[in-house]
Amino acid sequence: MNRPAKLMIGLLLCLFALVLLWVFHVALTQPPGARLADLALASLPLSGVTNPVTAVLVNYRAYDTLLELAVLLAALLGIWSLGAATPGFQPAGSALAAMVSWVVPLLILTGGYLLWVGGYAPGGAFQAGALLGAAGVLLRLAGDERAGLPSERAQRRLAVAGIAVFALVGLGTMVAGTGFLTYPQRWSKWLILLAETAATVSIGVILAAAYAGGKPRSRASDGATP
């Protein structure tokens, strides 16, 4: 692209930014109606968790979260459809290997902690899943071609488990009569924990598998490939 065109785009975008800033200012100075935040905070005791962000994610807007897990799965399936993963790096030296053997369990432990703490403080399935994914990334960097994950067959099942549990909980509550993804109040805490735990595992597996960058290659130890 030539210089004048770049300059032109730049100038237009500067103008665009100024207009946006003005619009944003106008939006903020409009007389606020009933704030959604008040409603969200007032309904918190009924939601089964005490962290308002977790309440929005897994209760008020749980359906969003269900679809978002599907987006993650779609990305992984898309990556797998492009071909096999590249071979991993060469095995790490002893210092790195020792560090990895320390850090990975720590990451998994911290992931579990974040999952549990998400009920009443910042944390939750996505943060925990991201840590698990990071553990997978570390393992692959240290020479494990498959980022610490099991065979393709098992990866497929782990990757769908989170959405499956979420969707089945939703269908279960529908059949039970409260409505799709509407937790009965007595059960809400445990149903949320169940759905979040499964989601954490799936998110971690999907992130690590996506980092491997392709369909897992089969190993002799896997037995028959599906």
Binding site: M1, K6, I9, L21, T29, A37, V56, L82, G213
Partner: protein
Amino acid sequence: MTAHLLYGGAGILLFVLGVWSFLVHEALLRKVIALNVMGSGVFHLLIAIAERGSLPPDPVPHALVLTGIVVAVSATALALAMGRRLEDEDDAR
């Protein structure tokens, strides 16, 4: 209000910078980064509107940002994988 405008303005700046980079640069990696910068700009704005004075912050935009991040990660991963696939093919020639 000033804090809002500073924070929100930074978000708008990031968004517009991302658009600029997306339009001007050819390389895939730059375009993908540009899209992520745009995304960060939008998420910035969401965080900015969550806070209103002395009241407790609005959790809804916070949750939307978390959802948005996951969606952005997924799209980025797919774009990078497709880009690498193209590059591998070029290398093989």
